[in-house]
């Protein structure tokens, strides 16, 4: 009876952890939803011709691939594959850094053609800036995940920390899934 009760409590705690994580994600999503709304409110469906479509597509591909590596990191630790988890976490980190570098390159061009003080630049820099900030915090979390993983903090029986960080990273990707077409592909 006692063992069953303890087991039930442990599973309930994981469910509560997950619910809390989703509630946090939903709260963050409202910020991005507001920015997405502002994009259409301020600029309609227009976009500037000077947007670098190549960079936009490349960094989108990089972020999507990083979602795969993050997924594989979680799948690895679920099988007690510590080396795989570390490898894919590091890959996700590297891809995230490359994504931010691509955003930086895009910004350097964007400052010239549509500066942030007016027009499309206003919403472009706020949207990409807010998203990039979340990517940056995701990278910090991934770094902690990697370091904790190296210390053996996770196992197939206990990897909530890894699951939470990976969920956050996927959320960042989902945001870009909506931001990318809203900024780059409309006309």
């Amino acid at each position: 009876m006692t063992t069953t009760k303890v087991t039930e409590l442990r599973y309930t705690r994981l469910s509560i952890n997950r619910l809390g994580m989703w509630l946090f994600i939903i709260s963050e999503a409202t910020i991005f939803a507001a920015l997405l709304w502002a994009r259409f409110w301020l600029e309609g469906q227009g976009r500037v011709a000077e947007l670098n479509q190549t960079i936009g597509l490349v960094i989108t591909a990089i972020l999507l691939i990083s979602s795969l590596t993050a997924y594989l990191a979680e799948a690895s630790i679920a099988e007690n594959n510590h080396a795989g988890m570390l490898r894919y976490t590091l890959a996700t980190l590297v891809l995230g850094v490359i994504f931010l570098a691509g955003v930086g390159i895009e910004w350097s061009e964007a400052f010239e053609f549509f500066p942030p003080e007016r027009g499309f630049g206003r919403i472009f820099f706020v949207m990409t800036g807010m998203h990039a900030f979340h990517v940056f915090t995701g990278l910090i979390l991934l770094a902690f995940l990697y370091l904790a993983g190296r210390r053996g903090a996770y196992s197939a029986d206990n990897y909530w920390g890894a699951e939470a960080v990976v969920k956050y990273w996927h959320f960042v990707d989902v945001v870009w899934i909506f931001f990318y077409p809203a900024l780059y592909l409309l006309s």
Binding site: R10, Y11, T12, R13, L14, S15, I16, N17, R18, L19, W22, Q45, Q53, L57, T60, A61, L64, I65, S67, L68, A70, Y71, L72, E74, A75, A78, E79, A156, D157, N158, Y159, W160, G161, E163, A164, V166, K167, H170, F171, D173, V174, I177, F178, P181, A182, Y184, L185, L186, S187
Partner: protein, 76 residues
């Protein structure tokens, strides 16, 4: 993350990323080929987000708690 065995999980990951790549290519092509493009972009974005939410983020765990899906402890 326990509904599938390890090889299944990896296969699912690769299938999902392939679908995401196809949908991204499709929306890129649509943006230069179709007017108005907004409805189509909304659909592709929802499809892509749905794939990640279900297969990568395991959103279904929210309404299916229990031993069959939760085979790891709460975190510390």
């Amino acid at each position: 993350m326990s509904e599938h065995n390890p090889s299944d999980r990896k296969r699912i990951g690769w299938i999902v990323i392939l679908l995401l790549a196809v949908l991204t290519g499709l929306e890129f092509w649509l943006s230069f080929s179709v007017r108005p493009v907004l409805p189509y972009l909304v659909l592709t974005a929802i499809a892509k987000a749905g794939l990640i939410l279900y297969y990568f983020m395991h959103v279904n765990q929210l309404w299916k708690p229990g031993k069959e899906t939760d085979d790891h402890n709460e975190g510390n």
